[in-house]
Symmetry: C2
Subunit: 316 residues, 2 copies
């Protein structure tokens, strides 16, 4: 039995054919081209899927179902994307549209949920029953898994760690709030903080770099650049405190950190662990492992396949 | 079938005989006298229980089990109280001691958990499957109920909202941390904030009151005292923000606020609701009711009886 896993990002569409054991048989990616509109994006997904099947020598009937993760809020029951700013979508009936085009049952969920499903199935979360996962990127995605299942809560969108308020009067967030975690600890926030420190007169070896992202800041911090070190420490402080606060209420078995910046390794993981421990306090004697996601770019594909498996293959 | 519900506080021991439908048949209270030591406290509990049974014309064998809520951290499996500063207890085997003295099975849990069980059984939480409850007092207790059961998490102590960090570099907390919610929004914190505003030169009609507590501050705020209004607003801001942050991760069906200050009514509930809504943001369209606990002083007795019922009467 095979499944189609699709990871629809603001920049790239990744897709793969995944077997029932969670192995990717074939995968590939194309540009999203979100600005050309939803029809064009859907056509690229369908073409990519057809291409993968052809190259793997599979027919449509060899695929049981498809799963897709998207960067936004999803009503999982109806498969309608409520809001996906990076795709310019609002109230878009993704499931029904894609089911018609693919001729397959389609399961839709938020990309952070899908990544968490991937990690608990095949990655850093294997063996845990509950976990809290955050994904650091342009924003901050999050997912809460309790008893092996994504918990969506009454809002229906699941964990929204990106919008917990960590700094009264802090930076404005696109959600309308201020001081949301993603304005303080996302990749975007690190770049903004870097520029603020520069404007305040601090020096960095990166100060004349024309193209600057979280990756460059993390590399410079690892190489001893003081300004970049302060940027990373501040982001880790807010993230670690927010994670500890959530853990104090929830008590998950583990915390998993995903997203591009985590690939920089200990330069960001170590301060996150330090601030999580500091915020939890010494009186918490049960260890709470803070782990890096281990599936990297494949979490979205594997997790989307898992979502399809759960929704269409495991339930009666 | 009857149960014995005991609410052991730092100041008062309340106990009652509760029937299987959650009605209190008889109740009474005595001073705790915690400074006289654990033996003396246990003797008062046993004497109070014996007195209630006698007055109600019941024998020991009419009682199926006893439950007790205590102000501190409990290892629920063993019934050992890990830390209860208000009782001066540390690693005290309350369950085994009390079972020997009462001749009954005894269930022990944290008082905030017990109050939440009471509220979901017979109070403001009836009809909900999940809730987050905070109890404002000397500190801030909390409990998380998911699918009708107290969630204890990996730390085993359940929700610890009182120690989520809301203000970097904020007031020192007895837990060793700084800026914990209970240093900012408890009854104790309101009194401290009142004194800080006075010291900063603000005026209040209460400034010459020798005995001052949260109750007086809330009454003055309701009567238009500006300084007291600011104290209440600040406490509500921290509490509302922390509750919204937890709700963004968890999505409980309702939030219940208990403890003495809530009896002051809208003067504190209204700003808490306002800050919860503000922190959640406009994009959360599902209403999240923020309700006052409705069992008052009886929540501990009823909840402790419920705890005993769950542990000793409902499980095979």
């Amino acid at each position: 039995m095979c499944l189609l896993g699709i990871d629809l990002g603001g920049t790239t569409i990744k897709a793969g054919v995944v077997d029932g054991g969670g192995r990717i048989l074939i995968k590939d990616q194309v540009a999203t081209g979100a600005k050309e509109g939803a029809r064009a994006v859907l056509k690229r997904i369908v073409d990519l899927a057809g291409d993968l099947l052809r190259r793997q020598g599979l027919k449509r009937r060899d695929i049981k179902a498809a799963g897709i993760g998207i960067p936004g809020s999803v009503d999982v029951g109806s498969g309608v994307v409520r809001l996906a700013p990076n795709l310019f979508w609002r109230d878009f009936p993704l499931r029904s549209e894609l089911e018609a085009l693919l001729g397959l049952p389609v399961a839709v969920d938020n990309d952070a949920h899908v990544a968490a499903l991937g990690e608990i199935w095949q990655g850093a979360g294997r063996g845990f029953n509950s976990l809290l996962m955050v994904t650091i990127g342009t924003g901050i995605g999050s997912a809460l898994v309790i008893d092996g299942r994504i918990r969506r809560g009454i809002f229906g969108y699941g964990a929204e760690m990106g919008h917990v308020k960590m700094l009264p009067g802090g930076p404005f967030c696109h959600c309308g709030g201020r001081g949301c975690l993603e304005t303080l600890a996302s990749a975007t926030a690190m770049v903004r903080q870097f520029r603020e420190y520069l404007a305040a007169g601090l020096a960095s070896r990166l100060q004349d770099s024309p193209e600057l992202g979280a990756r460059e800041i993390l590399a410079a911090a690892a190489g001893g650049d003081e300004l970049c070190g302060r940027v990373v420490d501040l982001a880790a402080f807010y993230l670690g405190t927010a994670l500890a606060n959530a853990a104090l209420v929830l008590g998950p078995e583990t915390i998993i950190i995903g997203g591009g910046p985590v690939r920089a390794g200990e330069v960001i993981l170590e301060p996150i662990r330090k601030y999580v421990a500091e915020s939890l306090g010494d009186w918490q004697t049960t260890p709470l492992p803070v782990l890096a996601a281990s599936l990297g770019n494949e979490a979205g594909i594997i997790g989307a396949a898992r979502l399809a498996l759960e929704l269409y293959c495991e339930r009666p």
